[in-house]
Amino acid sequence: MYGYIIRRVLATIPVMVVVGIFVFLLLHLTPGDPAAVIAGDYASPADIARIRAKLGLDLPIYIQFGKWVWALSQGDLGISIFSNLPVAQLIGQRLEPTLMLSLATIIIAIAIAVPLGVIAAWRAGTVVDRFTMLFAVLGFSVPIFVIGYALMYVFAIKLGWFPVQGYVPLAKGFWPFLQSITLPSVALAMLYTALIARITRASVLEVLTEDYIRTARAKGLTSTAVLMRHALKNAAVPIITIIGIGIALLIGGVVVTESVFNIPGLGRLTVDSILRRDYPIIQGIILVFAGVYVIVNLLVDISYTFFDPRIRY
């Protein structure tokens, strides 16, 4: 089992190396002079030279890469061109809203999607099942910002139950915090819920045809016991896999949701940095998000050993 975990951990290294090389090359893939691109259309040659020197762009590329990796290993993500503050510090400041939004979304999505998928599979072909599948297609198809504005229009503007936009930190009280985060996380949860519900249904449906389910039923277990203890546990591996893979969708969704609801998180930082061509921040954020994705999926891989003892190769 430890061998399996060690192998999974080692397997993340090449992935992060590729991500690192891509992020580093991001600046050098620019058609033309990266320093000129960063400086913008109205920069003087002196500005461009200053930026080139600041980013070390005048050095040979392998030395630049070496320096960049060395700095990274010290937790140094570089300096923002626009604000002159360390990128790591800027990301740290914006972490709370994004983290809270993501956690709330994951909780809502799993709490709705897993029961919905199990019931749909259990009652396959009925109205409940058709409703779930319809919801799954809708959740995939209606873009997050359309859902976001629709929710905002009904529940914030017309009914006034929630604030229209903005974020209240947890430190300023749990209730205002919860109110500010409800609509964005519900909007963001739609896509994720659709994804998980669909896989849960398919996965439970397949397990329900197994012999041991018939045995469990035959020995007189209640439907709930059969579903929860036998069906769901055996269907868990694909469900957890999709929760992990879905993190990539969630991260993309966070960027958009934060723009719709005016939440000062990492997503907004990304969008602002792009408009200002602040490449060190863009590079830092991609590294952090890709790192989160890789770590979550590593944890998912490791959790397989808990749900399915056969996976210990």
Partner: protein, 293 residues
């Protein structure tokens, strides 16, 4: 003699019609999807004939609600929202179809080679795993920041993150097919590699690729709108649904129609393409269909 031929012809065409009807009855989702998409394609092609100039400014009628003159109202520069919505169909369809075509073609070539050539496989798949660890929208945003905004660059920026998914799919198909007895037979009689790939492997990738292409198309339409909405997509003057929503969001609380019509069209288009994808998957690959049902 001529009479017989005529009879035969009628018989043949009736058979074809019956077959078509039978197909439509069995696969209503495919038919509905194709119908709605055809209507959207017609709207896109004949946009100049069914709507006014989407760039025409008329400051006198700024932010007017929907009326007989401006069916969907006007925006903050007095442009006709109906015209912009109609022309937005062009952008979304162009981006969706181009990305679907490009990413499946590129992915197909890389996937075929990776699936068949062992040495290339290890390296290519590590690169693909790495690229897949970067969330798609973020990837596209970063590329747009590099390239600058234009419709062409939007297509490239959305295509690149989609390629690894197609490569994985094609490679998986190749790995199963190459073990088939008929491929082994072809190898044993000395068939050259390019011929094996094209004659024996390629046709098998067609069905899953078609399904994948529709899903890629749906996702590309969403991502284009998202990029434009975030200000990292098509240039601001282009009438795309994402741009319209980005401009309308400022007035959202008082003039909701600015977001309503492009949002609705966007949702309908993506829904249609996704439903078509599901229908194609059930039709072309009965194995997956059975598992999903």
């Amino acid at each position: 003699m001529t009479a017989t031929t005529g009879d035969l012809d009628i018989g043949a065409s009736r058979g074809r019609l019956d077959k078509t009807l039978e197909f439509a009855r069995r696969n209503p989702t495919v038919v509905i999807g194709v119908t709605i998409l055809t209507i959207m394609a017609l709207i896109a092609i004949f946009a100049p004939y069914i709507a006014r100039d989407p760039l025409l400014l008329d400051p006198v009628v700024r932010l007017e609600p929907p009326s007989a003159a401006n069916w969907f109202g006007t925006d903050h520069l007095g442009r006709d929202v109906y015209a912009r919505t109609v022309f937005g169909t062009r952008i979304s369809l162009t981006v969706g179809l181009s990305v679907a075509l490009l990413s499946t073609s590129i992915g197909l070539v890389i996937g075929l080679i990776a699936g068949y050539v062992r040495i290339v496989d290890a390296l290519v798949m590590r690169i693909m795993d790495g690229l897949m660890a970067i969330p798609g929208i973020l990837f596209a945003i970063a590329l747009m920041a590099l390239f600058g905004s234009s419709v062409q660059n939007v297509i490239i920026a959305i295509t690149v993150p989609e390629v690894p998914r197609v490569v994985r799919l094609v490679r998986a198909v190749v790995l199963t097919i190459r073990e088939m007895p008929y491929v082994e037979a072809a190898v044993s009689v000395g068939t050259r590699l390019p011929k094996i790939l094209i004659r024996h492997i390629l046709p098998n990738t067609f069905a899953p690729l078609m399904v994948q292409a529709t899903y890629v198309c749906a996702s590309a339409v969403i991502v284009e709108a998202l990029l434009s909405f975030l200000g990292a997509g098509t240039p601001p003057e282009v009438p795309s649904w994402g741009n319209m929503m980005a401009e309308g969001r400022v007035y959202f609380q008082i003039k909701p129609w600015l977001l309503f019509f492009p949002g609705l069209m966007l949702a309908i288009m993506v829904l249609t393409v996704n439903v078509l994808g599901d229908g194609l998957r059930d039709t072309l690959d009965p194995r997956i269909a059975r598992r999903m049902k």
